[in-house]
Point group: C2
Chain length 221, copies 2
Amino acid sequence: MSRLRFRISISLDGYVAGPDQSVQNPLGIGGERLHHWATALETWRRAHGVEGGEVNASTAVMEESLTNIGATVMGRNMFGGHPGGWSRDRPWNGWWGDDPPFHHPVFVLTHHPRPPLILGDTRFHFVTDGIRAALDQARRAAGGRDVALAGGAQAARQYLAEGWVDEMELHLAPVLLGNGERLFEQLGDDLHGLSLVRTVATPAVVHLKFERRDGARGPLR
Amino acid sequence: MSRLRFRISISLDGYVAGPDQSVQNPLGIGGERLHHWATALETWRRAHGVEGGEVNASTAVMEESLTNIGATVMGRNMFGGHPGGWSRDRPWNGWWGDDPPFHHPVFVLTHHPRPPLILGDTRFHFVTDGIRAALDQARRAAGGRDVALAGGAQAARQYLAEGWVDEMELHLAPVLLGNGERLFEQLGDDLHGLSLVRTVATPAVVHLKFERRDGARGPLR
């Protein structure tokens, strides 16, 4: 069974991005502090062509999160927003650069139709008919493997609210951002079937893994 | 050295109390879900005269939090607000009942002068000249032992902002409240010298212990 697996880094005060996100600063002011635990890892650095790095308790968590993923779904802002808009004359290739780290099909939720975009060995598909369609397409593309939900907050909230997320891993960075975009808004007072199943901690991050309980599945499956 | 130790239960979305706190519902709507991990413990139940309960990884954390405390500081709302106001004719004894679980002096931050109140073996002092005065008085009363900062959010934020908190333990309940009172507001983007030093997890709660780093002490000590 192909599962929808959501992972995101979040601050102690609940922010998944800092304020004033822009092309120059896609994580928002201070947002890179959410990811220090990851960028310090040898696993992350190797995947991004950088030498060195640490091996610690987060290594197994990151490697697990990269395993058995056949496709990714993400929101428009996660792909890279709309600087200047998209047109045939001025294509905007997001902020993932020429060699995105996905290496599998990525489905971007958007209201703006656009042909697929190939960067390195990653093909971005732009889906305009909603979160269910994007998930269906991603599941087909994944060929039996799981689908990663990469964020951002707005896209994640929609899937969480439907009860379609099978696994959620919060990488809780023990810092305050003070401002920015919160993950848990407009979701009411329940986790839509998810419960805590595993915690892994280092001084730099606490990984909180949630899974859907039996009998608490959303209407999709 | 007497240390100021702050502990509080907090939801995944950052709330330390639910909405609509009242005398009938001092934790706010849904707020009791923050404390299920504690009220399930044999240690907690014995301290409150209730039989039974669990022994698990949270037991040692709770016992540690009760050890070497000589006095407590709390905000007005934590004591019990002002239903009907305080007067000689209509004294209000808060919502801790006839036998509060402190068993040491408690210093309540308030703007309303009032003589000390004795309930069971707990003496409540009402401090009207600010958070520094309350901490000084609590330290003297503690006789070399530590001072507990019991909350609520508003009082805690004031001590945190001054950099006077030496230890902070967040009992992170893996639930959403969706609304209520947030702890981390108006504190900006830093933890004022505190950093994560220990994590203890059960399926019901994740205990995140922060301590002041050497060289990062507030101006008080």
